[in-house]
Subunit: 70 residues, 2 copies
């Protein structure tokens, strides 16, 4: 799968959510800190399930956290 066309606002969401740390977010969604870093920096595309879980943590719809630019 080619270049990633997905951007996200996780970093902003974390700070809006009382400056939640990467580690804290990772623990809430049940993955490691490295996975959160990789997703924040758009190193690869997460599974849909993980994307939903992250959005849920912030109480936002998935489309507020992840956006796709074709």
């Amino acid at each position: 799968m080619a270049k990633l066309k997905i951007s996200n606002t996780i970093r902003r969401c974390r700070f809006d959510a009382d400056e939640m740390t990467q580690k804290a977010l990772a623990e809430k969604v049940g993955v490691t800190r490295q996975t959160i870093i990789a997703i924040e920096n758009a190193k690869y595309s997460p599974t849909l399930e993980l994307a939903f879980q992250i959005a849920e943590v912030f109480g936002k719809p998935l489309s507020d956290v992840f956006t796709y630019e074709p």
Copy 2:
């Protein structure tokens, strides 16, 4: 990652979209027919990128095609 909590309306979307076939959908998003089958039947969670591409084919927001039940 545990049991899948994601359901989808791909099958309905395909029929609404002039009875688009699994093969046709697969070609439009650049994956194989088996991948579409597996996702339709919720065998596993697709990548976020693929989910966005599928929703785009139907001209719908991702949340209309995939829903997450915590």
